[in-house]
């Protein structure tokens, strides 16, 4: 799935960004805090609309989508890994994946299969029945990864995924990313963590500074 941004700007956050990302590429968006990395990911995920410019995903301009079509695009195409632990704290690990899978599954059985597969891929299946507020930071991050993968999206967007993780959990995350790359996913990681500097399989690296691509 080809991603193409043409002269994309968003108020003061990013200016005139044009990039092309091919299917199955692993991209690193590097930049300090406030450089516009998250804004760029939000625009690709259709969480925000650009002030100007166009965003083409497989030839379709998603910046023109209505709420309904944008929601449909997010459901089928995007897996988003946030830097903050946005989770349903009072629910179990398994239940946290129900809202995402309800959109794509009509039978409880296939829904369960999809959830268990995603939990296994994110190496959190052993905690399926644990309530979220009993999880460690690393486990919460793996749950967020599982949630991003559960609908088998083609594009995985990661916003500062290791910001709240220790070295051990960060390495677990890197191994998962490599597995996803092997599965043919297109992955974009926005980070300022030097850990990603030496990551194998990185296809392109963009550096953002004050909303401009260097």
């Amino acid at each position: 799935m080809m991603i193409e941004l043409k002269s994309v700007s968003k108020q003061e956050a990013i200016h005139n960004i044009s990039i092309k990302i091919k299917k199955n590429e692993l991209i690193i968006l590097h930049g300090v805090s406030g450089s516009g990395k998250s804004t760029l990911l939000h625009i690709i995920a259709s969480f925000s609309k650009p002030s100007s410019g166009s965003v083409f995903i497989s030839g379709e301009d998603i910046s023109k989508f209505t709420d309904y079509h944008a929601a449909n695009y997010r459901k089928k195409t995007i897996g988003y890994i946030t830097q903050n632990f946005y989770l349903f704290e009072t629910l179990t690990v398994y239940q946290n994946l129900l809202p995402s899978t309800t959109l794509t599954h009509t039978s409880l059985k296939t829904q369960e299969q999809a959830i268990l597969k995603a939990l296994k891929m994110a190496k959190i299946d052993h905690k399926a029945n644990t309530t979220v507020h009993h999880l460690s930071g690393g486990e919460k991050q793996r749950l967020i990864i599982a949630r991003a993968l559960v609908n088998n999206p083609e594009i995985i967007l990661c916003d500062e995924p290791t910001a709240n993780l220790d070295a051990k959990n960060s390495n677990v995350f890197l191994s998962i990313i490599q597995e996803l790359k092997a599965l043919g996913k297109t992955i974009i990681i926005a980070t300022h963590d030097p850990l990603f500097d030496n990551l194998k399989d990185v296809d392109k690296k963009f550096i953002l500074q004050d909303g401009h691509l260097e």
Binding site: Y68, A71, Y80, Q95, L98, S107
Partner: protein, 390 residues
Amino acid sequence: MLTKFNLLLTLLVANKKEHLPLFILSTLIVFIVASVLFISSSIYKELSYTLDDQADITIQKFRAGHVEDIPASYLNEYLDINGVNAAQGRVYGVHFYEPKETFFMIVGLDFYDPQITKKLAQLTNKLNVDDFLKRPSMIIGSGVKKFFDEYHYFHSYNFRPPDRSIQKVYIYDKLKESTNLVANDMIIMDINLARKILGIKDNYFSDIILKVTNSNEKEKIYEKLIMKHFDTRIITKEEIAQYYKKLYNYKGGIFLALYLVALMSFLTILYQRYTLTKSHELKEITLLRSFGYSIESILWLKILENALIAFIAYIVGVIIAFWYVFWLGAPLLKNIFLGDNNLPSPLTFITAVDYGTLGILFGIFIFPYLLSVVIPLWKMGIEEIGEVLR
């Protein structure tokens, strides 16, 4: 469908802390309003029954603005009027019960009239006319029974007629509790015994009642009755109905105040909910949108979630109210209705449910409830996901 229902339940569990206080308050308010509604319907039904039993025309004798006993000779004169199907004299009056400084209503009935005894038998647990008339006996209302028991008049009570003699009357039976609204303070006895205790001369009645089958003739009969005796006051069933209606409306005013208080509290809670921008809800909606839910589908999901809570709160409130009114007899609330009653009444409300009003209550309850949920959600939903996720 199953996955959606599963999600609905999951979200309910996830948000139980947010839902519980509103659920409890809503149940309480529905309970109060529904209780008032049930009591109101029950009383209205009972008053309608009472009205059905009223005579078409009641005649009292007046002198210098005072009611006085009416001669039995009037009875035959009235029976001569065309259109009057039946006429009957009644004997009744109040008895002052000194220990409690309260009044009982003594009603004298003709126990040789099979129609009267048949009707009375339905209101008592046992009635054998021969046994009843063997010695001076009475059938008493629940309130009277309670006071008699309190002062150890378990078997009989000594009345003091105006001639200062002592008249011992035995307690034969108690009236059924379903009659309490009108007969709580009532003592029923033989007509001649009642005359003696109340000081009414033989061949006199307290008033006379007439039965008129053709209601179109009532006006003519009214004129003829006046022509017969100018010293009488004629009260029609319609006038009694008006009196009950006024009484009911007066009570209705109190209910209305209760309704308003309950509804105001409910609306205040909803307004608070509406104005409270909950970061928790904003986070949840944004998360759902980021997964691929459209604003419309989130609204429907939230409407269903809250409608389920509101519906359960409504049903639970109504069921508790039904139990409170018709099983427990509405302690506390019933005192509002019995304020002008002579004796405190162990009233049993007859089951009466006004489904129309319950339906209106449902509408009044559920729509503001859902609006208070939907409007803030819609406002939250139009925010950009990216702004919230930062």
